[in-house]
Symmetry: C2
Subunit: 761 residues, 2 copies
């Protein structure tokens, strides 16, 4: 490998200045003449039949322009799993039933927000209440009321993965243990609440500006629910203040904004408030994880039988994916010669769970990692050593599911142990202090085409100009993770240009090339990055061909784009500037501009992902043995994201992941009462703040991922998994309390210690 020019550099983020100066316009910042403001009426009941809705009083209110209910709209069900229409279970507004407190019943558009809000109170809904089902056990009981018709035991999805012979494996094991873990729901808590603005143009087309991770998916599903043609709907993603999986579906307000814009002819904007986000927003799946695992005496894994029940809440949302992925992640990290997984996605009368950073991994890996530590202790092996013994390596296969390509897992474990001085600290930390380890693997985008897209998974267009600039167009969505910057870096590297030579237009479904599946599953760098490389290489072929002709070069000469020039490799004396080369190609095609399109779709890459990231994390904690309060003193991280495109960007992802992992482990949870979320603001929902962040050290264990652009793979989500098990293990090390039901609260620690947890002296 030759050294990179642009890759691996701390390039400032594309959006940094706009955000820092306040000029960045988010969806709610947009204003159009004559714009109406929308509000949504939500169900006060967890489960009920709608008998009648009377909107007449609301409609009569001065300033109200439009009131709609489920009876007014095309009754088209939607959901991201378009490949299997049976899984599509949502209407934009409730048609017959409400299924959770906060379910969307009606919408009002008025001349201002206050009027719209007031009108909500004038809508009279007559309900027939049904029994609420608030946990998976009652929902799956034989006599439970079906939350959705025709869904047996309220179980909407069953997924299995199996290879080897689990029973034989357990029989051959020296040590077998079974544990049940429970993990809880947490909020994405993105700083920008959801917002969408729709405008009808006079030809009947809809433009929707929306805070989304998936403009293309929203375009398609919105068109289908409006009964319009896909390309009569244009979705534009303005600046987005975070998504973390919570903005990757078509949502009610997006539909209502568009539908009401069509009905009124006026622009309509909906912006949720924080209370709605907490009350009714998507959340991470709570799961009940039953894991049976068998080892040889020396710590070698033999078999694993994993059963996971997901509490999906009222609708499928991205639950089908999570159901499969938590089973996939159960088979990751370590070599399980025999493996069985059975996952069930169960409806309950709670706000729907869906994708959230890590997408099944934080839950599944919490169980794996804690159980691994428990087994290590039982077998008398150091947690680091048992991991090294079983760690997956390049070339490992999970039959029918995936093959591990690049893999820096072993090095990550070694590095994090070295950095943290693991052996010494694990042996010698004083009272109330503990150190613990957690590991992860994560996907770099998905292979399975659940959205049933007809287009490449990612696409890019590059237009090169004789002034030495290029224009990159892609539907990929920068939602704050920095993908616009990473894609520009990749293009700059490939074409030997500087960041300022590149204009980027992204995430506008009418103007950028079809298509991109959106920002989720840590797919953007690898997939959109590959599309950019594909387009750039086509540009280079044209440039190189023209240069060959101009200098009458022998066909064997390789050429390069480097430092703003196009030249035979290492021969700047024979080259010309990038812009001059573009002009030459243009002349050779009688003035036609030099444009190329590239794309990427993973093929022959199993069922899951083209590439896995890996890593390990060690947490050191101090636990106040009087109060049970946990202070995380330090986090060490070693991780393998392939080639690091932008170190500062990767560190930003890491910091964000640790923040989320801290909250997941220690402080965040929804306080629920009969399906009602009680903590609906940032005072009561205890998210870690900057002041709670521990100091940390990080080592990038760089590998070269052959399927990734310049060798890169995911770095955004995997790191959301190890923090909770590392902290949990450290708490155990400090207090003897082993947490099998997140979060780790002071009460649980004190209770666990009293119940006979190991007392370190």
């Amino acid at each position: 490998m030759e050294p990179f020019q642009m890759i691996g550099k701390d390039v400032p983020r594309n959006d940094a200045r706009a955000k820092a100066t306040g000029t960045a316009a988010y969806a709610d910042d947009l204003k159009l003449p004559g714009m109406l403001h929308g509000r949504i009426l939500r169900s006060p009941l967890a489960h009920a039949r709608i008998l009648h809705i009377d909107t007449s009083r609301a409609e009569a209110l001065t300033g109200v322009r439009c009131v709609i209910t489920g009876q007014d709209i095309p009754q088209v069900k939607y959901g991201n799993w378009r490949l299997f229409p049976d899984t599509q279970d949502e209407y934009a507004l409730a048609v017959d039933k409400v299924r959770f407190i906060g379910d969307e019943v009606a919408a009002v558009a008025a001349v201002d927000k206050d009027t719209a809000q007031e009108a909500l109170e004038l809508i009279d809904v007559e309900y027939e209440e049904l029994p609420g089902l608030f946990d998976v056990e009652s929902a799956m009981a034989g006599d439970a009321v079906p939350i959705h018709d025709h869904c047996r035991n309220n179980t909407s999805v069953n997924r299995k993965i199996a290879y080897g012979d689990v029973e034989k494996g357990f029989a051959e094991s020296d040590y077998v243990r079974e544990d049940t873990f429970r993990v809880h729901a947490v909020s994405h808590a993105y700083l920008e609440p959801c917002s969408a603005l729709a405008q009808l143009d006079l030809d009947g087309r809809i433009t929707l500006w929306t805070s989304t991770q998936v403009p293309y998916i929203v375009q398609c599903l919105l068109a289908s629910t409006l009964e319009m043609r896909e390309n009569d709907v244009r979705v534009i993603k303005p600046y987005v203040g975070g998504g973390f999986g919570g903005k990757m579906e078509l949502r009610t307000w997006e539909f209502c904004a568009a539908f009401m814009a069509k009905r009124t002819g006026r622009p309509v904007k909906f912006t949720l408030n924080r209370e709605e986000e907490f009350l009714a927003g998507r959340r991470r799946h709570p799961m009940t994880i039953h894991s049976k695992v068998g080892f040889k005496k020396d710590g070698a894994l033999v078999a694993k039988d994993l059963k996971i029940t997901l509490d999906g809440g009222a609708y499928n949302a991205m639950g089908p994916t999570a159901t499969f992925l938590c089973g996939n992640f159960g088979a990751m990290l370590y070599r399980y010669p025999n493996y069985a997984f059975y996952g069930r996605h169960v409806y309950t009368n709670k706000p729907p769970a869906s994708a959230m950073r890590g997408f099944g991994a934080p839950q599944s890996l919490y169980a794996s990692e804690i159980q691994m530590n428990m087994a290590a202790e039982a077998l008398g092996i150091d947690p680091v050593d048992i991991r090294l013994k079983n760690a997956q390596k390049s070339g490992d296969k999970i039959p029918d599911v995936a093959t591990i390509s690049s893999c820096g897992f072993t090095e990550s474990i070694q590095e994090v142990a070295r950095m943290s001085d693991w052996k010494k600290k694990r042996a010698s930390l004083g009272p109330g202090r503990g150190i613990g380890i957690g590991c992860y693997s994560f996907i770099s985008g998905g292979v399975f085409n659940w959205f049933n897209t007809q287009y490449p998974f990612s696409a890019a267009e590059v237009r090169a100009f004789s002034d030495g600039t290029v224009h990159l167009l892609t539907m990929a969505s920068d939602i704050g993770q920095g993908s616009d910057t990473a894609l520009k870096q990749i293009l700059a590297e490939e074409l030997g240009l500087r960041m300022e030579d590149i204009r980027i237009t992204s995430a506008d479904t009418a103007m950028t090339p079809q298509a991109d599946l959106g920002s989720w599953g840590s797919r953007v760098t690898l997939m959109a990055g590959n599309a950019v490389v594909d387009a750039a290489r086509k540009i280079k072929e044209r440039l190189f061909g023209a240069l060959s002709a101009r200098y009458n070069l022998n066909v064997i000469y390789e050429m390069e784009c480097r430092e703003g020039r196009v030249q035979p490799k290492g021969r700047p004396d024979r080259g010309m500037s990038f812009g001059e080369a573009v002009a030459m190609v243009q002349k050779a095609s009688r003035g036609e501009p030099l444009v190329a399109r590239g794309s990427y779709t993973p093929r022959d890459k199993g069922l899951v992902t083209p590439a896995f990231g890996f890593g390990a994390q060690v947490a050191e904690v101090e636990v106040d043995r009087q109060t049970g309060l946990v202070e995380v003193k330090k986090m060490w991280t070693a991780h393998d994201c392939g080639t690091v495109i932008n170190p500062k960007g990767v560190e930003g992802q890491l910091a964000g992941s640790i923040q989320m992992g801290l909250g997941y482990a220690l402080s965040e949870q929804f306080v629920m009462e009969e399906g009602r979320t009680l903590n609906t603001n940032f005072l009561d929902y205890k998210m870690p703040t900057a002041l709670d962040m521990p100091p940390g050290e990080v080592v990038h264990v760089e590998t070269y991922e052959p399927e990734g652009p310049m060798g890169a793979k995911e770095c955004g989500e995997g790191l959301a998994s190890p923090t909770a098990p590392a902290i949990s293990d450290a708490v155990y090390h400090a207090t003897g309390y082993r947490c099998k039901d997140l979060p780790i609260t002071p009460e649980k620690i004190l209770e666990g210690m009293n119940a006979g947890g190991k007392k370190k002296s």
Copy 2:
């Protein structure tokens, strides 16, 4: 020819609803946060050296954010004749001299318009006045002060056209006459004053929304004057309220908005007021036309010697083109076996003349047509007959300049004579009534690459989707003439779709394909239309190929896109819907969207144009012999614009042309006093209104232009020429007053009648 499906239909204009409902946003309607308002300080003197400018008092005014003069800006001269840099004679702000009253001296940007205006009054400019030159004769005098240095006799451009042997021709003629005609300046009087809004993005790029006919030209020249790279400047044309040639150059306020946005970091908007438009705006060239023409006894033309001096005002602007074109038009319409033209473009201290609807033709053809009528009378031949005898026909050549392809001129003369009952009325109209004829030919865009573009003259991209829609992208500029509609019709015809199946994005230099030279010279329908057809045909080839494979068709089968289907010709049973066919192509390329780019550049088409439009017009007038007031009773028009794409659109062009022709002939003129324009509002500048419009009849003499899309050619500008000579000839017929110096005022008529004009009784 098979009958067209979409061509020739009265399709409603693309912009009609937006304009009718007031939702169409023009440049001045755009508002950005933090936007500043700009005003321009203009010279009160016609010709002066700038000794000193003191902006300190203006800068000190509260609310003023930026004040600039010619000393603050990159001193880069610009002008549309980029191929010949010598002709580029303008700075955005005066550097050393002012050259006309209204010349731009300084600019202010402030928090509101009033403050900016007030600041103008605080700028102190010290001038050294120079002698003003207000007519071409004094400007060309040997001792005249040069308005621009190094320009001999203030003559900036000389153009010649010559073929045959003029002197020999005159010697062989039976009848030779010489006349001098003077034509005056008139205003474009577009309803939307010029306006431009510039925004600096945080990466240092400029976006300019501007009321322009030529986004690409503005992009290039703005970049050069800002010393930026072309593609770091993005020009977007919003809705435009007319241009007529007056918005086809980079202008001061466009530069100042961009430069001041760069300097302040804030958006800056300039909008001219009507007074500025009249005081300092571009205008049609006044010309002095000396024409000597020789005939045989039977009316056959033998030779013409044409000498034209253009009063260019203070800068070249589009004068070099007008200089050539008035010579070209002098050789059009009739067969001149021997022809000589000598044109001179002369600087004077008046607002620059430039392109205006007709671009040299209204002036040149006024002289030709009037002189033809005078010769006809002298030779005792009917004006219609002498025209029929000499009329150009398909295949005629103007050596080195042009070849006439399609030509419906003879039919136009015949039709207009028939419709107007010419022979009878010419013989028998009562006292004070008259009938007169005028003819025209006009170009369908230019061939000569004076802008020195590196790109095709027009380009289009078509993206086809499986939902049966397509997206057309083109840099062509709809400035109110309806080109977006015409281009959609052309595409709909070619692909067998309906208007509502087509989304169009136009005139955004960053998003639409490079390039389009803009809307002028009646080039858009033919050139951009050809680019659209080119792209559409590439789409069809892909569709037809896939269909052939699917149905295993013999290679000889021709296929068609028709009524939303793709099928073997005439075999809808074997076809499929357009969307299905697109989906099939997409499958065949593994999901890659179906996209094609097309372009058009005229080649091997001489120096002028790929195709000429033709036509004839008859006016009937009644002249009040006491007051000299002329009332136009009726206009008959027969014209050949090739295939009529949109009849209502063509009629709109015709009505607008007659309105402008009426004003040119009878009422419009600038009242000037020592270089100062005195009539600077719509009360004093007498433009005909809707109430002044005569009834009319029109016949489209359709020909098929082989170089045009579906056989179409120009219809927008040619018709601006015949109205004035037709009215003038009718006034002569009614009163005996023959106007050789436009406009035809009541005073001139009364004076002419008294001086011995023929008195019809």
